[in-house]
Amino acid sequence: MLYFLRRRSLTSLLPLLFVLVGVFVLARLTGDPTSLYLPESATAEQRRAFAASHGFDDPVWKQLLHYLQGIPHLDFGTSLRTGQTAASMALRAFPNTLQLAFATMLISVVVAVVLGSWAAYRPNSLADRISSLLSMTAGSVPDFWFAIMGVWIFAVILGVLPTSGTDNGLLSWVLPVVTLCVRPIGVLTQVVRGAMVSALSAPYVRLARSKGATDVRLVTHHALRNAAAPALTVAGDLAVGLINGAVVVETIFGWPGIGKLMIDSILQRDFAVLQACVLLTALSIFVLNILIDLGYALLDARVRETVKA
């Protein structure tokens, strides 16, 4: 297990460092944010003072070094925009996204497993074709379009759901979560279906059938667990991709999550916050990947042996 964690860390933290440095340098290339943070009429001296106090007059490598030195002390810099520490802003926004993502994945997985298994149970049947078409469509709908159409229909025309925000209890969750669910459900249903079709035609299912097992038992007991591994892989990718969706959905629904914070930080050249968000996102993806690997181990003894060692 320790070996496994160490190996994972080496293989995953390296990319993480790459991403961090890459974003740092790229962000610096967007230019000195001084002009954004001082009034139009600020004098040249005021501008110089501002740049100097935030280190924007140093060469990029020096700024990077300074930044990296701060990380071990959990110093991720201060937001230019709000004056708060970047870490506190990122950490405050993160749970909101995490809740959204968790609810989305929970719903998506449940729906996809049910729909996918149902479709796979009778390939080429009408039910299969309908659910395939639906899931393909779901996987092809742009989330931003779905979101604003949802707002338009359910909030503006029908007035049954709030337009945005987090103030209306569970109702506030409906549109964002449904929007985020659409693509994962579409993609995952197809994967589950494919995996279930091959699992259901696998020799071990024939063996179970020759033991007199009922169809329900074949699906739930024998096929599903074998079909879970490919579904897990895709679910992991989708969970990472949820951050993409979160950017759009949080922007539209005014959801105070990390995606919106990142976009705002980029727009405002609030580098410290951007980097804190990037770090946090990359870290959570790292953790997610470990969880997925543990999931594989959970499903399959062969994987477990490599993890255990």
């Binding site: 070996y3 042996e305 490599t306 255990k308 060692a309």
Partner: protein, 337 residues
């Protein structure tokens, strides 16, 4: 044919060949000894049968001979030179002289290439062999004819052939470079019985006609018995018994050879026979038994088998018939050399 005497230099000579692989087993890296000191000789125009069960290392030996794997130690001498020391033109020349026929006639042919393209593929590397396209086309027709296919078959794709025909294609491809040695790795085990006979006949005819030598690898004793001049029996990376075919199979020295012969079902229902059923299975080559490899399943094993590698013994009755055993089944003398 050659009876194994070494009056002139053998075509192929293998000495103490060892090949290990690193494998991950239960999370740890272990060493798998696929070949553990294998020695063989093969003469021009001769067929050497290589017998053994799965995991005994016979395929690894074939791959090493064809330089698909690099041995850890030991030497291969082909026509007096070690191919693993070659490079450039010399290496290409060795590649030309040694060819292989693979077990699976489906997998060993690229389904996207026509029969003609498959047969002429070697010449795309060995361009000097048949420089003009007309030569190549003529040679393809010739080879197809040689293996019993129609010249018009050159246009067809592998999946349009039956299994036996595909194996003929594989043989034609191996012949394209006019090799001196063809390593046949289970060439008929994937074929149906009725087709197997056709292919064996073809291989036999080609040898008569072209004088090519075969290293014939098979787990099917009846097939080996039919084609091989000499045989070598492998167990867990070692050749445990070898010699001319008849004495080796009829009067085996090594208990393993005897058990193998006994276990193979026979068509002959005329008389009841004692069948030796070995217990257990072949131990893993990752952690082979000490001393004699076979001792864990051998009914004649004694304590000394567990400690020391058994000596090479010679069959008194048949020269060249040797085995590695403390307790040979036939009267035998310890190796003099």
């Amino acid at each position: 044919m050659n009876d194994g005497s070494t009056t002139h230099q053998p075509l192929l000579s293998v000495r103490d060949l060892t090949k290990t692989f690193s494998v991950r087993h239960a999370g740890k890296t272990k060493t798998l000894r696929a070949l553990d000191g294998v020695s063989l000789e093969l003469h021009r125009g001769e067929t050497l049968g290589l017998v053994g069960e799965s995991g005994c290392g016979k395929s690894t030996l074939a791959r090493t001979l064809l330089m698909l794997e690099r041995p850890d130690s030991g030497s291969i001498s082909f026509g007096g030179v070690d191919p693993h020391a070659l490079s450039g033109k010399d290496l290409l020349d060795f590649r030309r002289r040694v060819q292989m026929v693979f077990q699976d006639p489906f997998a060993s042919l690229n389904a996207r290439m026509s029969a003609g393209a498959i047969i002429s593929e070697p010449w795309r590397t060995h361009r000097s062999l048949y420089p003009s396209s007309r030569d190549r086309a003529a040679r393809v027709r010739e080879l197809l004819h040689l293996v019993g296919l129609r010249p018009s078959d050159a246009e067809k794709y592998p999946q349009e052939f039956s299994g036996g025909q595909r194996q003929r294609l594989g043989i034609a491809r191996a012949l394209a470079l006019n090799p001196d040695l063809i390593v046949c790795d289970e060439p008929v085990s994937a074929l149906d019985l009725s087709v197997q006979a056709q292919v064996l006949n073809l291989l036999n005819d080609l040898q008569q006609e072209l004088g090519v030598a075969y290293l014939f690898i098979s787990h099917d004793l009846s097939v080996v018995r039919h084609v091989a001049d000499r045989v070598a029996v492998m167990y867990l990376g070692r050749v445990v018994e070898g010699g001319a075919t008849e004495p080796t199979f009829d009067e085996p020295l090594h208990p393993y050879t005897s058990a193998l012969m006994s276990a193979a079902p026979s068509l002959d229902r005329a008389g009841k026979r004692e069948q030796i059923i070995l217990e257990g299975e072949i131990p893993s080559p990752i952690n082979p038994p000490s001393g004699c490899r076979f001792r864990t399943r051998c009914w004649r094993a004694t304590e000394e088998c567990a400690t020391v590698t058994p000596p090479l013994v010679h069959d008194d009755a048949a020269p060249g018939h040797t085995a590695e055993c403390f307790h040979p089944l036939q009267p035998a003398a310890a190796a003099a050399s």
